[in-house]
Amino acid sequence: MINGIVAAVIFILCLAIIFAEKIHRTTIAITGAILMVAAGSLMGFYSEPEAIAAVDFNTLGLLLGMMILVAMLEPTGLFQLIAVWAGRISKGRPVRLLILLGLVTTVLSMFLDNVTTVVLLAPVTILICEILGIHPIPFLVAEALLANTGGVATLIGDPPNILIASAAGFTFNDFLVNSLPLILVVWLVALGMLRILFRRELAVMPPNAEAVSRLNPSEALDDPKTARRILIVLAAAVGLFFFEDLLGVSPAFIALSAASAAMIWVQPPMKKMLERIEWNVLLFFTALFVLVGGLDAAGVLGGAANLLTYFQGVPPVVFGIMAIWVIALLSALVDNIPITIALIPVIQQLGENGVDIAPLWWALAFGAGLGGNGTIVGSTANIIVASLSERTRTPITSKLWNKRGLPVMLGTCAVISILYALWFPLFSR
């Protein structure tokens, strides 16, 4: 009992300090992990070998592999090309631009990390809006929200999905069957809501619509040869993800194979390429695995699961929908990665207690993915867009996010709840 209290205090303290955003989340997670191992070793509930065993290398490998591919793709200017292309096709009409940029963001975020997608698209979005003479905020907010939404659709789209797939043994195809169709509907709802919420800004016709037609997409692509090579490797990797089951290999193996193939083919300047990899994210994950491993070893997560078993009387559909909302609200306030890592052992324990957990995994994916849209700090993509906009004359404020992002989060969670109920018989395979 005392073990559990100590472990829970360390974990909740870490979450609270992460929430306060005064110290970098990776620093907090590493310190928390050290404290957890120290407390565990002293009190005998957690040891160093157990801490290392708690690290999910499948998740880390998949993240690293995809990060290497993106790090090589970034300097080619491919993202710039795509955004410029969207700008030209829109002919400067704001609503059309919103739909095109939204579509591009969503498709990219389904295969690449949301943060990278937003980091690379947002500056060009600001450029397009400025030469058109329109407000960039609707487009930037839309990009963050739709990147978060699109990420839920695939196994590799979003870190929580990678974690869930690794823990639940879901394949790439499982996500295509159980998540993609639902997210398509949610995406349309989100886009429609953005169209309505920003109707005033989008009604302004650009004074200088023909300027976008003079943007030259081919000049926006700096290194077509490398871009082509990495796209081929990326396409091959996605192709292999489809046959993950058949081949009997892990997603991490596929991603790292693709990364090494791309490195052999392109031979990037190693030091520069490695600088673009978000090592702090990988460290954050590793530290969180150790931290949550201690929480699990101290029996806290099992205890939480046993408490939840009392909800057995509640119909499973209702329980799943409740889970979506609770997880979504938590993810809006705190980083969704620690939430996901902490809830995974709880769901696993529920499974051991005889609950059908397949639908709960999907509730976790939907809640963690869509909940991040609720506040300006809810997801890293939101924070990135907001901090980029701070370097412009029209910064995105927390107040504005509450007026535009929060309704979208609530709306998409409501829609996903309905879809979840309709899809429920298919989840429990």
Partner: protein, 156 residues
């Protein structure tokens, strides 16, 4: 030769109380690249560069996008003007820290300071710190190069 032998003595400066709009007028009238900002005793308190004024009009994307060669038409931003309240602000809100040299400074020392701080013009002060002149890179470099023709200096 010293910096005081090659500097321009007719230095255009601006009082610290002036507004950004007034500074812009002085820049246009005298066609200079920098304006030392001086207090009532003509001692420099900062410097206003052309680029400090131009950033008010430059679009935000210039600092966000690395390579702009694909943008052939800046469109709407070509005709935007800074807001009147920005132009009414005092020059002290835009000015940068000033680097000066004493009038008895040597030429190579002055030129090195300009290189290190990436200055195109360097204001010159007398021993009391009062602004007495300004020298451009061209002024200093030409004065240095002119000594090559005399060939009287010692060779290292």
């Amino acid at each position: 030769m010293l910096i005081k032998d090659c500097m321009k003595r007719n230095v255009i400066s601006i009082p610290a109380e002036d507004t950004v709009a007034e500074a812009a007028r002085v820049f246009v009238k005298h066609h200079v690249g920098v304006l030392p900002v001086v207090n009532a005793g003509r001692k420099p308190v900062g410097i206003l560069r052309l680029q400090d004024l131009l950033t008010l009009e430059l679009p935000d994307f210039v600092s966000l996008v690395a390579d702009l060669d694909f943008v052939h038409d800046f469109g709407a931003v070509e005709t935007t003007r800074p807001a009147p309240e920005l132009l009414a602000r005092p020059v002290t809100s835009l000015m940068q820290p000033i680097v000066t040299v004493g009038e008895d400074s040597g030429l190579l020392r002055a030129y090195s300071l300009m290189l290190k701080d990436d200055l195109h013009d360097i204001p010159v002060t007398d021993p009391e710190g009062v602004l007495v002149g300004i020298a451009s890179r061209v002024d200093v470099a030409a004065a240095v190069l002119s000594s090559w023709q005399e060939r009287k200096g010692k060779t290292p």
